[in-house]
């Protein structure tokens, strides 16, 4: 199936509107870019758009009520809200170390959710 997508390039502030025509997983045509720098970005955006995901997870007994987290790799764009939904159901006990794995294979993406800060436990 032939599809056309208009991608706004983010490589520089000119923001070229690059028209990408794809046939299944093949690039048919690329048009509208003033330079070559954005080509790779446009192709990825057309075939398999992904985004780094950052959010936070609830913490029990921590110095803070939340710990900030990120996806270990960029998440397919169409799975962002599914991943967020799964993250919202989790509550983790302090102490938490930066880099600690919080969720394994989130929403069956093979991607993990990892803490980006340390949260100490509070003594009651």
């Amino acid at each position: 199936m032939i599809e056309e997508k208009e991608i706004t390039c983010i490589v520089c502030p000119i923001g070229c509107r690059i028209l990408v025509r794809t046939d299944e997983k093949q690039i048919e045509k690329l048009d509208g870019n003033k330079c070559k720098q954005g080509i790779e970005y446009a192709i990825n955006e057309a075939l398999d758009p992904r985004r780094m995901l950052t959010t936070s997870v609830l913490v029990k007994d921590g110095e803070w009520p939340l710990v900030s987290v990120k996806s270990s790799q960029p998440v397919p764009k169409n799975k962002v809200f599914q991943v967020l939904k799964e993250i919202k159901m989790v509550k983790i006990s302090a102490p938490i170390e930066s880099g600690q794995k919080i969720i394994n294979n989130v929403a069956n993406t093979d991607i993990n959710i990892v803490a980006t800060r340390t949260v100490k436990k509070i003594m009651k």
């Binding site: 502030p13 939340l66 900030s68």
Partner: protein
């Protein structure tokens, strides 16, 4: 009263203060202390949980908290002392600092001072939005700290005024937390935030961006219930026929940042009206010898990368000053001409190679940047595009002849 002496005292422990302190240590300062009023080091970074920090500097994209941790660890390794929950009340031209914390009042005599107080956000009063005084109006950064640090949602139906990066990032953050973002309203015909954020925070989630629009009224009883927005004409005056009402309980303001310089003003440091930060020379030294400025209290940087790199140079210069307290000449001025909003440094008092950072006044295609000495071009550089959201960095070589002339230099973009 607790008295002490240090080589370099740094006011503010955000990325600028941390970088400067680490670098001062690396360049031979014996004792370096950071004073910060927050109960954590790292400044604004712990609430900036999104990624994109450090790309230019290290090639690696980190989140704000990760970036802060990296610098805090380096500071510890260099034996930089960090005093948190310590508020600086004043300093003077003799490098005496007065600060307060729960142990009492501290007087600190430093050989050099580095200003790294960061900035604060513009409020409703800067945009002069008429209407009721009610709850539900927040600056974007405050909403960010509520959501990301304290787990408090500011509201459900949100309008954002101003397309600065903080506002764009908050649009996406609010969507992630289940709020309905009705749109971002921008008075200019272009976004003031980075293109990446326009795409990845708004377009990705179909959040409308209203260019040439502003908020014309705010209404509700105790809590915000609705705002009116309207298109503006070329003189930025709202066109009443275009007015529309948006039902919302929350208005976030992302109107820009103002360098935090109350302390500097009280110490009689000369402030640049455009940048809002101290007037500095090529070494980032203010008009008070031995007092240097860096980070967002000097000028509002686009990204933390450039900010940290400059702050490192500031730390080095402060360390150098501690063993060579040379009084400098006033030097010559560097003026912003046509097409240029501002240039830092504003003064030059040494000849040789140096870096200038500047901003254009509006977006343009292919342009030429000139550094002029009278009618003579000291530097001419073609730029493929210019955008006020993206700072321009250029290297120039200033000769002793230019310096000795006493004449100002001018920077232009045509």
């Amino acid at each position: 009263m607790i008295n002490r002496q240090v080589d370099v005292a740094v006011i503010g422990g955000g990325p600028a203060g941390l970088s400067a302190a680490i670098s001062a240590k690396e360049h031979g300062a014996n004792s370096v202390v950071i004073l910060d009023r927050n109960s954590w080091p790292g400044g604004i970074l712990p609430q900036c949980i999104h990624d994109g920090f450090g790309v230019e500097e290290t090639g690696e994209s980190m989140t704000g908290p990760e970036y802060a941790t990296k610098y805090i660890e380096m500071a510890k390794q260099e034996n930089v002392e960090i005093m948190i929950q310590t508020m600086v009340l004043q300093f003077d031209e003799k490098q005496n600092i007065i600060a307060v914390n729960k142990n009492g009042i501290h007087t600190i005599k430093a050989k050099a001072i580095v200003l790294a107080m960061g900035c604060r956000e513009k409020t409703r009063w800067h945009a002069m939005i008429p209407g009721d005084r009610l709850s539900g109006i927040f600056t974007a950064g405050v909403a960010q700290s509520f959501i990301n640090l304290y787990n408090i949602m500011p509201g459900k139906n949100v309008v954002i005024l101003g397309s600065g990066d903080v506002g764009l990032i908050m649009a996406r953050r609010l969507r992630f937390e289940g709020a309905n973002v009705l749109g971002v309203v921008e008075i200019l015909p272009y976004a003031s935030g980075l293109p990446r954020n326009v795409v990845q925070c708004l377009k990705d989630y179909d959040i409308p961006l209203f260019f040439n629009h502003t908020v014309t009224s705010i209404a509700g009883r105790e809590r915000l219930e609705r705002v009116k927005i309207a298109q503006v004409d070329e003189n930025m005056v709202p066109i009443s026929e275009t007015e529309q009402e948006l039902k919302c309980d929350t208005l976030l303001l992302s109107l820009g940042l103002i360098p935090e310089n109350e302390l500097s003003k009280n110490a009689n440091i000369e402030i640049d009206e455009i940048t809002g930060g101290p007037v500095v020379d090529q070494n980032f030294e203010t008009n008070l010898g031995g007092v240097f400025a860096c980070g967002n209290c000097l000028q509002v940087y686009d990204t933390v990368d450039m900010l940290s790199l400059d702050a490192k140079r500031v730390g080095k210069n402060a360390a150098k000053y501690t063993d060579d307290q040379k009084q400098k000449e006033n030097g010559i001025r560097l003026l912003s001409g046509e097409g240029v909003r501002y240039v830092v440094p504003q003064r030059i008092n040494e000849y040789g190679k140096m870096q200038l950072t500047l901003r254009a006044d509006k977006p343009k295609d292919v342009s030429t940047l000139y550094v002029l000495f009278g009618a003579k071009e000291i530097l001419k550089k073609r730029l493929p595009w210019v955008n006020p959201a993206i700072m321009i960095k250029i290297d120039v070589d200033i000769s002793s002849k230019v310096l000795e002339s006493g004449q100002s230099l001018e920077v232009k973009i045509k």
